[in-house]
Symmetry: C2
Subunit: 355 residues, 2 copies
């Protein structure tokens, strides 16, 4: 199949740009003496995981047990579930299936209550204690990590260290401060474990926007996800260049009127993410002045700069989703291209694996 024959909208991965991103991040971690454990929730693809591991990643991060199972079945043997997993009946089945696969498994935990369920259904499993470094989502206040860790050790769990997600890096000008907050929170949490006589071998952090500033005197491991593809959020935060965007949604112009162009890629292909600071609902890779000003399920209305001639109906444009993780989770497969040649279709094997 030729690029021109692809149905639109569809998600297209530029293999050369992708491989550059994978290699560059592996090099950055290596240069700083940090372990790299990429977050696979972004790509949900065993083929992409294989490339990350081949480039030097020590294992994968995932968000859910069902996602972990997809990658365990694909042969990934070291998985960290970076989530405060609550083991109900269904998740107990997933945990058992995962342990049966024999993968090395580490689970996030931020309370003795969830630890007790982990200890019942996966006795002795390794855990990292989650702390909040400023994102105000999940995770303990850092100074409380040691007390909870002590409870988890008493439950027989293998406490190996601490982790955080400095998600407040997702705002203009916030990247460096988020990295500082991350380092401070993780240092406090690690000391809090030590106070309880618990070793802290793993100190895990890292979001794609903050990672450039991660403090390698504190952090031992990075868990970026989005870096493999980049997206409009990273572009607008200055965490990637347009030339580093490896995934776009190919969309067809279905309407034109003065100042505006309508595309067939809407929120069911791109995701509806639009942070308050985003300049639109997505960007066009080859037309940086254009903005997706309105997004419906199957329409994107693009404000077209009068500095360049508008496209015509039937033209195909490359849309950069605001948040690539949610775009990928809408697709059954990724189309992989070298230049304009379609070279592969990668299944989004863990699509919808939310449990």
């Amino acid at each position: 199949m030729n690029y021109a024959d692809l149905p639109t909208p569809c998600l297209v991965v530029d293999e050369a740009v992708l491989d550059d991103n994978v290699t560059r991040m592996a090099g950055l971690a290596r240069d700083r003496g940090l372990l790299l454990r990429p977050h696979a929730k972004t790509h949900k693809s065993p083929e992409l995981a294989r490339r990350q591991l081949a480039a030097g990643a020590v294992g994968l991060t995932v968000a859910t047990l069902s996602e972990a199972l997809v990658f365990a079945d694909a042969g990934v043997d070291d998985l960290f579930v970076a989530y405060p997993v609550w083991v109900d009946r269904h998740r107990a089945d997933l945990l058992r299936a995962l342990l049966d696969r024999g993968a090395r498994l580490t689970i996030g935990c931020d309370s003795a209550e969830s630890g007790a369920l982990l200890a019942r259904h996966a006795p002795g499993v390794d855990v990292l204690v989650e702390v909040d470094s400023g994102h105000r989502r999940s995770g303990l206040p850092p100074a409380e990590a040691g007390t909870v860790a002590r409870d988890l050790v008493r439950l027989g769990l293998g406490v190996r260290g601490v982790f955080t997600f400095p998600g407040h890096s997702y705002a203009p000008g916030a990247r460096q401060q988020a990295a500082r907050d991350e380092a401070a929170a993780l240092a406090t949490a690690a000391a809090s474990l030590n106070t309880q006589g618990i070793r802290c071998d793993v100190v895990s952090g890292g979001s794609t926007p903050s990672l450039e500033y991660a403090d390698s005197g504190v952090v031992t491991e990075l868990r970026p996800g989005v870096y493999v593809f980049g997206d409009a959020q990273q572009w607008e935060l200055g965490a990637c260049e347009p030339g580093q965007v490896a995934l776009t949604c190919l969309a067809t112009v279905v309407g034109v009127r003065p100042g505006f162009v309508v595309l067939d890629g809407g929120s069911k292909a791109l995701g509806a993410d639009r942070a308050p600071w985003a300049t639109g609902a997505g960007r066009l890779l080859d037309h940086p002045d254009a903005r997706l000003v309105q997004l419906s399920e199957h329409h994107a209305v693009v404000a077209w700069s009068d500095r360049e001639p508008p496209p015509v109906r039937g033209d195909r444009l490359r849309v950069v989703p605001n948040h690539v993780c949610n775009a990928v989770n809408l697709a059954d497969e990724l189309v992989v291209v070298r230049g304009e040649e379609v070279v592969a279709f990668w299944p989004v094997a863990a699509r919808g694996a939310n449990t």
Copy 2:
């Protein structure tokens, strides 16, 4: 399977509320002498389509040719694709497959260019001319409908009338004015066709928020989608009552801290829709004072009112997505319940059918 054993997050449909919604809308259309052609992009489910048709709908509306094909294969024999379809090579194959099914097919069109492609690949197919009634998405200025319709007739297409989507009804206090705009635009468009000597048998409008105010002196057909389930947007716009919300995302409490609760249903289960006027990223059906203040892919942070005691980890809450169409498009199936008894799983058969 019992309700308590469902994996979370998952989308749950309350069958009794759903059937009430289907029946009520059918009655509203009948009472006003209007035809009802529900938009199936909301539910993407043949079983739900069957119920809408049994209640008196004349056919279905869909957004894409691939969605049309799913419903044609499920036996629906009257389908309107409410979209300015651009027939490229892939869509030509879809069109041919649809015509082979023998369903009565009508396609949206807002230009002679897209009409020429329709005429080449589906000679003589019925079309409705799309006009813009204020949403500023696709569609012609209403007064230009006749000129384009004349071109389409010359191409041999079966011009049957006009349609619009008054999507600017999705804003606080905008419902009634949007319905007025809809009526004005459709009346102008219909007159514009008549001026060219073209009959206008179908005058199609109707969004869920504006529909209550639709002008039955102008409109002949309504195309609401969201009404079957309701969602937080409709709730906040006053277009449905909480008791009319038929679909919720069942989510588990995985974290609690003073004033906040963390759920395992994030944007990969709910969708990331958040209109500027929305009070949050979703609502809780049984706790109307609570607000989803922060949404990640697998976390929802809920601000909990101090007027009621907070839940504990492991509790399950019913989340109302902001925009149900995008939530449904993330799921492979809908869990159907009567009370707390699980009675069916309906496949989201047209999930991801974006082409």
